[in-house]
Amino acid sequence: MLWLILGLVLGAGVYWLVTTEKVKLTWYEWVLVVVGVILLLYGIENYSASQLELEPRAGGFLLLIFGLPGLILAAVAGVLAFLRAKKA
């Protein structure tokens, strides 16, 4: 169920990014978003699997180690696109 929800959210997000007129990402912003989302998903996968392993402490660290850089990369792409849109 977790992956179904994540898939729907991700699909909706990609659809919005591709179709919206408000934000147009450059190629390197797309790279940042894709790498960021992959890292974030990897962090979530390790977090949820660690809960099943009865290792919540490790899960938290793994989410932090992989998820946080992923979130930062995606946020950097978002900020760059926002600033460009504001300037235009």
Partner: protein, 460 residues
């Protein structure tokens, strides 16, 4: 088919057609089974090879007497006075900690330890000999190719509770030397030309025709052993031994039912050197613990073996990068309270009479290990618990780490540091269990506290 059919004849012929149709997939499966090599379903980074990763000089390997291990020969190595003193320390500590309600030593924990150590049939060299043989049933004994035999034995063993299964063909100049010269009870193990195994007070006779060793692991619970060194942490070891007793007897009876002999361990840790058989069967690699570490469960297994005259397809030693990883990782040695594990590189020099020469290993000071057991009043297991390969492997990071470690040693130290962060909150206090024993009672664990999903035998 008759030209004109009655309703009854029509149904009869239809039944025949149905039988042929339903048998077709079975015939197909039989063909597949005989064509397909049997092995564990393992990731491609685990390579098989002809020789183990740890060196063996077979010319200098001799059959070893089990009673020289520290398990049986502790008093011989430390002296009777020291053994008696340690026994008194153990009794006093257990009494004190029970009354203090120390974590892991409460009445609840001790009762669970007693419960887990109970049950299980008695081990037997030749098994109960009760199953009907093919001769009793008036049919020829089961025959198949070695690959088919390996497949059915693996399937049977996994259903009976084993985790991973491998096979070693005994050779007089090499692998046969891994059979003990004497069992733990001092009884000699003789290997001679004979039709059937035999057991007397002086010797146990292994017929030369019993050329195949079935080697199998039985999982311990990582989650439980994380509470070591305490009675509750040690309990999974006892439970696994009890489970293995039933597995051995059932395997012996299964083989008897097929028309073959099943020569088992007459007592715990009897018959042969378990880690060595595990390495030769490709179930894992030797390690800094001087025990077997498997790719699937790390060191969190016990290893067992049984001899048979049913021809089996041998499985090869493996290289999963574990032996190399141990050269870069000192975690178990650093966290071992009595510092009995090796801090150096692997060597051919043994540390004492409890080691068998002729192979390369991280030899340990076993007497220091066993003395520590007395002081904590139970077996230890810290080295098993803190090993990075003891991870439960549901989180994909562990599979990533294992695949990288199998290919390069470059990141091994980084993986150890990360393991410290993730799983060893008490890295600097190794005698403190990494998780509280009290929390064990609140965990929602699977059967036996183990994950049986990993390592499904290759079937397609």
């Amino acid at each position: 088919m008759p030209e004109s059919l009655t309703r009854r004849e029509f149904m009869k012929e239809l039944g025949k057609l149905g039988a042929v149709a339903s048998l077709a997939p079975m015939v197909h499966l039989e063909e597949q089974a005989s064509d397909k090599a049997v092995g564990l379903q393992r990731p491609s980074f685990i390579k098989t090879q002809d020789e183990p990763t740890s060196g063996v000089d077979w010319a200098n390997v001799n059959r070893y007497a089990e009673f020289n291990t520290v398990r049986r020969g502790f008093t011989k190595y430390v002296g009777e006075d020291e053994a008696n003193r340690l026994s008194e320390v153990r009794s006093a500590n257990l009494d004190k900690w029970l009354k203090e309600g120390k974590d892991g030593y409460t009445l609840l924990d001790l009762a669970m330890q007693s419960g887990a150590g109970s049950g299980g049939v008695s081990r037997s060299f030749i098994g109960p000999q009760k199953a009907k043989t093919p001769e009793d049933l008036g049919v020829p004994k089961w025959e198949g190719t070695p690959e088919e035999a390996s497949m059915v034995v693996t399937t049977a063993l996994r259903h009976l509770g084993a985790a991973t299964v491998g096979f070693v063909e005994l050779d007089t100049n090499t692998t046969e030397k891994l059979i003990y010269s004497h069992d733990p009870d001092g009884v000699e193990l003789r290997i001679e030309d004979a039709d059937q195994p035999e057991e007397t007070e002086e010797y146990r006779l292994i017929p030369k025709k019993a050329r195949w060793a079935v080697v199998y692991t039985v999982q311990m619970s990582e989650e439980t052993m994380t509470r070591c060194p305490t009675p509750i942490g040690s309990m999974t070891t006892s439970l696994t031994y009890r489970r293995s007793q039933n597995i051995q007897e059932r395997l012996q009876e299964f083989l008897r039912g097929l028309g073959y002999m099943g020569i088992g361990e007459a007592s715990t840790n009897a018959l042969g050197i378990a880690p060595a058989f595990g390495v030769m069967a490709g179930l894992g690699e030797l390690s800094r613990l001087n025990r077997l570490i498997t790719p699937e469960y790390g060191p969190m297994v016990r290893v067992f073996k049984l001899l048979t005259d049913l021809p089996l397809a041998p499985t090869k030693p493996i290289n999963a990068g574990i032996w190399d990883f141990c050269h870069d990782c000192l975690k178990c040695a650093e966290m071992c309270p009595p510092k009995n594990l090796s801090f150096g590189d692997a060597t051919w020099e043994v540390r004492g009479g409890w080691n068998n020469p002729g192979h390369e290993a991280f030899f340990e000071n076993s007497t220091a290990c066993r003395s520590y057991w007395y002081s904590v009043g139970t077996n230890c297991g810290i080295c098993f618990t803190v090993c990075p390969f003891s991870s439960k492997n549901l989180a994909s990071f562990h599979r990533f780490r294992n695949s990288v470690a199998a290919k390069t040693r470059m990141f091994n130290k980084a993986f150890v540091s990360l393991d410290d962060l993730l799983y060893s909150p008490y890295r600097d206090q190794p005698e403190t269990p990494q998780k509280s024993a009290a929390s064990w009672w609140k965990q929602n664990m699977p059967d036996y506290g183990i994950d049986t999903y990993q390592t499904v035998r290759e079937t397609s």
